[in-house]
Symmetry: C2
Subunit: 476 residues, 2 copies
């Protein structure tokens, strides 16, 4: 049995202003509209024999992840069973993989073949991917811890490298001679020339039993922290939320350091499909076809004497005059203009914004909630305006605010509203008024999205003025 | 008697995306918050002996101009009387000045000294300006048509030049030897070297009688078209709206061509104060003090390895990485990024947008109306959201829409609302609903702005679905 394990997390601060703490890299839409997470799921469930998928992610991303998965109709029609291990804090890949391993042993047995897939990889060649996984699965069943080594197309200094040792019986794979850290350019060039090195993709394949043994041998402190976490965790709940006290004590260490570099029986399956971890806006720009002046755009633009620019915007008209080699990325509340050669340094913008505690580090104007989304359209003195979209069948918590009143106008779909003692159906072009201090709840009883405009008034309009009286998503 | 005549018009397409057809250059706020028009008025009424100001502008800008003037408290406290001549179409400076001259003759007599001030000039040195006007006034009273020649600080190719002839009795001024069109760079350099040339500022000073005589002699076709216009115009109305049929027939010609270059007694008062017509974003950028890397910003920015950039935004966080010499101008619906050396070419962006009939050529998200402003906050399928700000005492027309219903929520101030048969007072945090087909009117009975959020729903939400039943601004 093959169990894909999707590791989804990471900030992706080099893709600011689109990626934010509340919407990291796996969740941002690529030019084709799909997210890296959706593509990762698609790639996983297209593999033969996959019936279960285990996702390890931060608990903050649980509903967002579920939303992404639910938009994949294949997952539905193949009756894929989704399990989740939710991390209370990020602790790098070793603890995450240890938890996934324990979970798999418990639920599916030690012979289960685990395929570790980071959620921020882009691989378009499904058949080569399937072929590589098949090779890896065979090795895994023989007890190998398998890595996937990407055929290097350039002397990249941003990746780790794997040196191949002796060839294995399948005439494809090799024993790993050694792992190397991100090299300098000269070293990287010698690696490429030697033909013995591949990029360490961060994807792995092994049986649960082999990883368990390797953890016991190479990283007992990781294993024991995760075992203690499991002992304090409600493992039969759905989703499984890892015990915070235990998991926080797990060492912050990668699986490469903790296990792969130390274990005995480690193999590399060399692959030559196109692979990217979309590490910067330059990488993302590559996904859009250039025009005859090298400009790549996915929005309304007027470009005058402008060459080799990437331009992305939600809704604004972007005009450029006499500029070259710029990355221009526009969002409702923040704009980035970077020279293409400096794409990696976008992370220093985020670092500075963090020092300023600037809102654009954490959130977009649109916030995802288990029941749908809300978007702040305008904030003025004494009022705030939101567009609220509630998914069919979903329901906000029964709640109350001390300091604000709310006017609700339904502009699309239908809302069932509890407003104090009354329960009323509010249809398109109808409104209701919720005075401060009144318990209220919004439910979408219909089969299409309910879109509502909320006009808040009051002297204090912070999101923390909310008393949740009842919530179907466990947020009381 | 000295009568300042403010000529306010012109598109200023080189200042897109801030200047738009509905908000041309005189109306855009400079970094200090004042508009060029406000500054022009301030400069005019600070001159000794000014009791009246005549403004010639397009009728579309009447309410906007009045709003600007009303924000000048000095104008109020000095009891300045404002007259307006409103043009139905733009016809360049000769017809505008001819109309102003006829108006001045009629109202104040032929001896009135007229001071022509384009509304888009920036002059900070009031005392030098006052001094120059005093010199010009003396000459004007002697029958001279006076120009103001700016001491050239560089061989500009974008301005016309005035060559000085023999010195006049005041030992300051000169007879004009000739006017020259925008020269090429080499020619401009010889002008600067010769010390005999000044820039033609477009400001003029003369008596109404002298201009009338000069028009009769040099540009009889302009004078007769404007005389015919006056004959068909209600001259005692306030404001005076020039007859469209007559004014449309006036030649489209500048006062320089039509009169100044041909008249006999033309003088130049050389001045050396700082003067700018804010011809581009580069000129506007100069008004903001640079930081130690030459960046000039007036908004939230994070600049990493960025030099000599100008950054302006209403509300967005602007981040730049590794870029130089850019003009970055951000508005709610359009963004401009131009190389500083290409500031003049912003007009080609506007030319292309015109071909696309793009909304950002004409309007901002915020539209000025006689009663205040409205701002489109969001447009979705079947709904549109506006913030409406009504000035104290102001009133929208009594109106009706065929295709849309409106929910009104007052978030600041108070509204008196006619809603069908009812007349109700809607206070902060109260709302009312206007069904399609119902006559309605919004009035602000208070002494502070009334801010209202309007949620429109309907299948057609165009601004042209409006039946005005009654309007105090003559728009029925």
């Amino acid at each position: 049995m093959l169990l894909p394990i999707i590791l989804s997390g990471g900030a992706g601060s080099r893709l600011w202003p689109v990626s934010r703490e509340a919407l990291p890299k796996p969740f941002i839409a690529l030019p084709d509209g799909e997210t890296l997470l959706q593509k990762t799921l698609k790639r996983a469930i297209a593999l033969p024999g996959v019936e279960n998928v285990l996702t390890v992610t931060n608990r903050d991303y649980y509903f967002l992840t579920r939303d992404e998965y639910e938009s994949n109709t294949e997952s539905d029609s193949k009756h894929i069973i989704h399990d989740y291990l939710l991390e209370p804090v990020g602790r790098n890949t070793a603890p995450a993989i240890a938890a996934a391993t324990l979970h798999a042993c418990r639920k599916h047995g030690e012979d289960t073949v685990l395929l570790i897939l980071p959620a921020d990889h882009l691989i378009n060649d499904q058949s080569s991917f399937t072929q590589a996984v098949s090779t890896a699965t065979t090795l895994a069943s023989q007890g190998w811890l398998v890595t996937f080594g990407i055929h290097p197309t350039a002397p990249e200094t941003g990746y780790g490298y794997i040196e191949s040792g002796e060839a294995l019986a399948d005439s494809i794979s090799h024993k790993v001679a050694r792992f190397v850290e991100k090299p300098d350019l000269e070293t990287a060039k010698t690696y490429i020339a030697s033909n013995r090195f591949t990029w360490n993709s961060g994807m792995f394949c092994f049986t649960a039993g082999a990883m368990l043994a390797a953890l016991r041998q190479c990283a007992p402190e990781v294993l024991s922290a995760v075992e203690q976490t499991f002992a304090a965790t409600g493992l039969d709940k759905d989703p499984v939320v890892l015990d915070a006290t235990g998991f926080t004590l797990a060492p912050d260490i990668s699986i490469d350091y903790a296990v792969m570099e130390r274990a005995d029986k480690v193999a590399v399956v060399p692959v030559s499909f196109d692979w990217s971890d979309i590490g910067s806006w330059s990488a993302l720009a590559e996904l859009v076809a250039p025009d005859d002046r090298g400009n790549r755009t996915s929005c309304e633009t007027v470009l005058v004497d402008t060459d080799n620019c990437y331009v992305q915007s939600d809704s604004r008209m972007i005009a450029a005059v006499g500029v070259d080699d710029l990355l221009i990325v526009d969002t409702p509340d923040a704009l980035l203009i970077a020279h293409n050669s400096r794409a990696q340094d976008v992370k220093s913008v985020v670092a500075r914004l963090k020092l300023l505690s600037h809102a654009t580090v954490q959130h977009h104007r649109t916030t995802h909630r288990p029941w749908g989304t809300y978007t702040v359209l305008e904030e003025g003195v004494g009022f705030k305006l939101k567009r609220i979209v509630v998914k069919p069948g979903a329901s906000l918590s029964l709640q109350m605010h001390h300091h604000r009143s709310e006017h609700w106008v339904v502009v699309s779909g239908t809302a069932m509203v509890i407003n104090g003692e009354r329960e009323i159906l509010v249809q398109r072009n109808e409104s209701t008024y919720i005075p401060a201090g009144t318990a209220h709840r919004l439910t979408n009883p219909g089969v299409v999205d309910c879109v509502m405009i909320e006009v808040q008034t009051g002297d204090y309009l912070g999101e923390d003025d909310i008393v949740r009286l009842e919530d179907r998503y466990g947020r009381v």
